[in-house]
């Protein structure tokens, strides 16, 4: 009984830790993104709230929470209210299977540095990622607005197209690691990170991951200059904020997954595991911001062509080659 309570307490602490880091990082990722984008465009970025604008995320949070939460009259109320939560929650749930350090021993108990080590962790990640699109599609549909609906449809179409490439690009990694558990995949990279042997898979995964997180140059579901704000056009206040948080959490989780699959996860010299993971996440996020500051949005046909005509065939070819190499 006591063991169970202790296990539960440890679990709660881990959940709290992961969530806290995720949300704090999401807030400051927004700040970092605005700041960095500003500099990329020879501007200052936020510099009014606190020194270097560091209090900007807090100001934004206060603003969003105090703003009126408007539900359009013609909207489907229940689904409209639920959709942002779906986006935010699925993004956070993905973080549950990401290992952030080696197993440690506390008071004689083996404590794995992962919230939960599912043996089908990879599938879980993809499942959650797919569920996230429901938030987008339903939010867009329930708004009963043409812009939101277009955004939602684009979001769904984009997810379907890139999910395939995303999944296929990981197959070689699984073949190399021999397991779907993320903990095992990280352990499999004890000697060398998979990026060295799977550069093609890495590129495909990164591109698909950016498309999954609906970031520039793949932000067609939002496309503020075509669709207003796409699927969240009609949202305001904290519900809009949840979409926002969802997007940035998703960004971090994808960064963590890239680290786990290709960069050796928490593994690294000198520094402790969790810190290594954090560094890798931030580096991935910064690269994503850099991409945003550099590339323009793809046209819809370009987006589809890239997904179906380039990434998926390349991923399939990669599987075949990897399979052949592993067999030999």
């Amino acid at each position: 009984m006591i063991a169970w309570i202790a296990g539960f307490a440890v679990l709660l602490v881990k959940i709290g830790l992961v969530l806290g880091v995720l949300l704090f990082l999401a807030a400051y990722l927004v700040w970092a993104e605005r700041k960095l984008l500003g500099r990329l465009q020879i501007r200052y970025g936020p510099n009014r709230a606190g020194i270097f604008g560091l209090l900007q995320p807090i100001a934004d949070a206060i603003k969003m929470m105090t703003k009126e939460d408007i539900v359009p009259e013609a909207a489907d109320r229940t689904i409209f209210l639920l959709a942002p939560a779906v986006v935010a929650v699925t993004a956070m749930l993905m973080a549950a299977v990401v290992p952030f350090g080696p197993t440690i021993t506390l008071w004689g108990r083996q404590v794995p540095m992962v919230v939960t080590d599912l043996n089908v962790g990879l599938l879980f990640v993809f499942a959650m990622s797919s569920l996230g699109v429901y938030g987008v599609a339903l939010g867009g549909w329930a708004s009963n607005s043409k812009f939101a609906l277009l955004g939602g449809i684009r979001g769904a179409a984009q997810m379907i197209s890139y999910e395939l490439a995303l999944g296929l690009s990981i197959v070689p990694v699984v073949m190399l690691a021999g397991s779907l558990s993320l903990v095992d995949i990280v352990d499999a990279q004890a000697s060398y990170p998979f990026i060295l042997v799977q550069p093609v898979a890495f590129v495909i995964f990164v591109v698909s991951a950016m498309a999954e997180s609906k970031r520039i140059p793949f932000d067609l579901p939002e496309a503020e200059n075509e669709l207003g704000a796409g699927y969240h056009t009609e949202y305001s206040g904290m519900r809009f904020g949840m979409f926002f948080i969802g997007e940035y959490v998703h960004m971090q989780v994808l960064g963590a997954l890239i680290a786990v699959f290709f960069l050796g996860g928490w593994r690294g010299p000198l520094l402790p595991g969790p810190l290594w993971l954090l560094i890798k996440i931030i580096v991935v996020a910064l690269v994503m911001i850099w991409v945003r500051g550099t590339l323009p949005r793809l046209r819809y046909d370009q987006l589809m062509a890239l997904g179906w005509k380039v990434l998926i065939p390349a991923a399939l070819a990669n599987i075949v080659i990897t399979g052949a190499v592993v067999l030999l």
């Binding site: 500003g38 500099r39 990329l40 020879i42 501007r43 200052y44 850099w290 550099t294």
Partner: protein, 199 residues
């Protein structure tokens, strides 16, 4: 054949996509890389932002912000309430009522601009035939109270001629006012004596 099909037939067929050579892919990657290099370099440049409340730059005379009603060089109101500005206004933020004063001059009995609605497009100034309505560079007139953004004529009227220092409509238009009778305007002959056939 339905009309749509006919329409499509008129369009030129799309030429088949050419096979991309390695060099083309290389060019694309190079261009992509150049983009990243450019933005990366920007990181180390000093931002060009002028920080507004600390530094206020002098705006050009013709920049478009708060609207005023100017006076002619003689100090009279230029506005003749011709309704052209309100007709040109794309957001319908100008309204007025014209009337005739004791001098026979047409003027605006009341004139109102709702700056809460104004988009500072300058079409009113362009439409104004008497150079009365003019946009000024003074843009800092935001108010907390929305009603105080509705400016009446007395708020709009200024005692200078603005950008056009010379034009006086009533000096040219051949209508009778207290200052000028028929034949006393610019480029006018004395009125014809209709009871005489002498040239």
């Amino acid at each position: 054949m339905n009309p749509d099909e006919r329409h499509y037939r008129k369009l030129k067929p799309v030429p088949p996509q050419r096979f991309r050579t390695i060099s083309e892919i290389g060019e694309a990657l190079n261009a992509l890389g150049q983009g990243f290099v450019t933005t990366f370099r920007h990181l180390f440049r000093k931002p060009i932002t002028e920080e507004y409340p600390e530094y206020k730059r002098t705006l050009p005379e013709r920049s478009r912000a708060r609207i005023v009603l100017t006076r002619d060089p003689d100090g009279n109101e230029r506005c003749v309430a011709c309704y052209l500005c309100s007709a040109a206004c794309p957001v319908s933020c100008i309204s007025m009522q014209s009337a005739e004063d004791d001098n026979g001059r047409r003027y605006a009995r009341w004139f109102r601009i709702n700056f809460g609605r104004c988009i500072y497009c300058g079409l009113c100034e362009e439409a104004c035939p008497t150079s009365a309505i003019q946009l000024t560079p003074q843009f800092e007139h935001v108010k907390r109270e929305i009603l105080s953004m509705v400016y009446e004529k007395e708020d709009l009227l200024v005692d200078h001629s603005g950008k056009d220092k010379t034009y006086n409509f009533y000096r040219w238009a051949g209508i009778r006012t207290g200052d000028r009778d028929k034949g006393e305007h610019e480029r006018e002959d004395k009125p014809v004596n209709v009871r005489s056939n002498m040239p």
